[in-house]
Chain length 227, copies 2
DNA sequence: CTATTAAAGTGTAGAATTCACACGAAGGCA
DNA sequence: TGCCTTCGTGTGAATTCTACACTTTAATAG
């Protein structure tokens, strides 16, 4: 049924930049559009915000519908509102960025084609999604160094080398192993497990897990994470 | 004339958190609402986004219309989209924060009542504007220490003591004078003028101005401002 | 079972930065 | 001329940052 308003209104959408990490390069999850405009082009998962749902809810719902992901780290990024960003009509899009752990998506993907791309090797994207992605990348780089969110991109149990690879991939520069480990452990946010990670003909690595409870406590007592 | 859509749509607004500095305390510019809802309550300046204008344009326009301000520092903050934030209907608001130099507003204010309030002594606000303001404050505090935006709150010519007072007011803690001055000057972003600031029975203070051109250059060559 | 291989794990010294701290200089005013 | 008030300045100790190389451990191949 139709809805009428005194003045014309922009349509409201959400778009999600979903980051993942395969151990080597930073990845982004894209879906192939099934409908015009930009049919068959790759795009960020997203869609229209319903009138009775929060923006966050909309982002979570679209993410689940289009990629099967749920319970991921999700944060509002920026709102894109240039007039012609959608060729059909005025569409304002609230962009989110999400961080997902390895393996979270593969099982879930259904009908719609969803695929991981390395951020260094992207296809051309629909709408202004390159801009959104660039904004998200900048934000991720900035955030990584002063908030412990890297763990959202790693499995629950991980080695310090994995963590370092992640930082190197996102920041795009090599880091010193000893300094990195010293710093990473200095916050008391990583709990060593009684397990090790065996992987080939060499010494196995200590596994750690991130301690979110401790992080909450530290955060409250005015604390600085900086790596 | 009415406009009809297949699905119901949220209305889109912008709201601006305008910060100022009177030399002592951080201030926020509020306007008194002339219409329901929240008639006669204080609120952030803002209004509806037109369908043919950018979000930034809408924020600038509303700012000018309601407070007379123009050519101010303006940056998108966050988009507020809970379902019941406006009692009338679904309204999603893109919040901005603005920094204005002393004296910019007093001359311009017209019919609508606009008034500066200290952030430490605010009236109760319409809608969810307290939340928006809190978000803006957090952002300002965070930003001030790693981007040279404090100058936007000072007159074009200012003394180092004024700059320090500003930082103290925003961060809410006293700073060491010698360390502050050393750091502030170390970036080569402040140009000493051939003038001094006379103000009472004591030694006059050196005036400086901020060098935006130099800042742009430094920013490009990957540079870190941190105070 | 021994040697080889590959990544894990560990310490230190010099440089740079941060932090705490106190007094003479300059101008206005009585 | 003296007093008052803010301006403006330097140093040493503590901390943090940075650069840098070898031993340990388990798996595998011979």
């Amino acid at each position: 049924m139709p809805h009428t308003y005194e003045y014309p209104r922009a349509a409201l959408t959400v778009d999600c930049v979903v980051f993942g990490f395969d151990g080597g390069e930073l990845q982004v999850l894209l879906i192939r559009r099934g409908l015009a405009p930009f049919k068959d082009k790759w795009a960020l998962p997203g869609g229209f915000v319903r009138v009775e749902e929060t923006l966050d809810d909309a982002a979570r719902r679209e993410l689940e519908e289009e990629t099967g992901l749920h319970e991921v780290f999700l944060e509002q990024l920026y709102t894109f509102g240039t007039v012609k960003r959608d060729p059909r009509e005025r569409v304002v899009s609230v962009a989110y960025f999400a961080l997902v752990k390895p393996g979270a998506v593969t099982a879930a993907t259904d009908a719609a084609e969803a695929k991981w791309f390395s951020v260094s090797d992207l296809p051309s994207l629909a709408f202004d999604h390159v801009d959104i992605l660039a904004t998200a990348l900048t934000r991720l780089r900035g955030k990584l160094t002063y908030q412990p969110i890297g763990f959202e991109l790693l499995p629950p149990k991980f080695t310090l080398t994995q963590l370092q690879r992640l930082y190197e991939a996102v920041l795009g520069e090599p880091l010193d192993k000893r300094n990195f480990r010293k710093k990473a452990l200095s916050f008391d946010l990583l709990i060593p497990l009684k397990e090790t990670h065996r992987d080939g003909a060499h010494r196995p690595a200590q596994l750690y897990r991130f301690d979110p409870a401790r992080y909450q406590r530290l955060k409250r007592s005015g604390f600085l994470f900086e790596l």
